[in-house]
């Protein structure tokens, strides 16, 4: 599965007051790539679908929180 996270590297000035965050992240999720959902995509079981918030794994987007994404030293 492709990554749903994108990164960019903001300009760092020597006069920035806070310790710089060198890597910033944002999300690009499946709805941006599917266009029009094709028929007969594989499905989760009903209980799995409820737990994932979606019936089709192709539309599923996990989100672990920013804590483990931002501030990765690039």
């Amino acid at each position: 599965m492709y990554s749903q996270t994108r990164v960019y590297f903001p300009y760092v000035s020597p006069f920035d007051p806070c310790p710089p965050i060198r890597v910033k992240t944002f999300q690009v999720n499946p709805q941006l790539f599917i266009g029009f959902q094709p028929e007969n995509l594989p499905q989760f079981s009903p209980m799995e679908a409820l737990r994932h918030g979606v019936l089709w794994p192709a539309l599923y987007s996990p989100y672990a929180g920013r804590g483990d994404q931002e501030g990765l030293e690039g």
Binding site: E39, P46, M47, L50, L55
Partner: protein, 90 residues
């Protein structure tokens, strides 16, 4: 009515989640079919799930009272609709 109501049993939560699961599939298929009205297989699945939903909801209502108001569920005596717990209380 004046007594503190008994906490509901584990079976309540299990059955509720089963109902939430089948209802969730129905929501998903419903939205999908709104933009894919010619997907026969999805329509068949929707109808099958709706039938299953009916059975699970009836089983739940027999134990824990009506799920819907305005005549879409039956009531025992006394009037069961306004008995606790409400969804945000469980």
């Amino acid at each position: 009515m004046t007594n503190t109501p008994q906490p509901i049993d584990n079976r309540f939560y299990e059955m509720l989640e089963r109902l939430q699961a089948v209802d969730f599939v129905l929501v998903e298929l419903n939205l999908y079919l709104d933009t894919h009205p010619n997907d026969m297989q999805a329509i068949n699945q929707y109808n099958e799930q709706a039938e299953q939903r009916w059975a699970i909801a009836h089983e739940f209502e027999a134990l824990y009272g009506p799920l819907t108001n305005f005549g879409h569920s039956y009531s025992g005596y006394p009037w069961q609709w306004n008995q606790v717990p409400w969804p945000w209380q469980v």
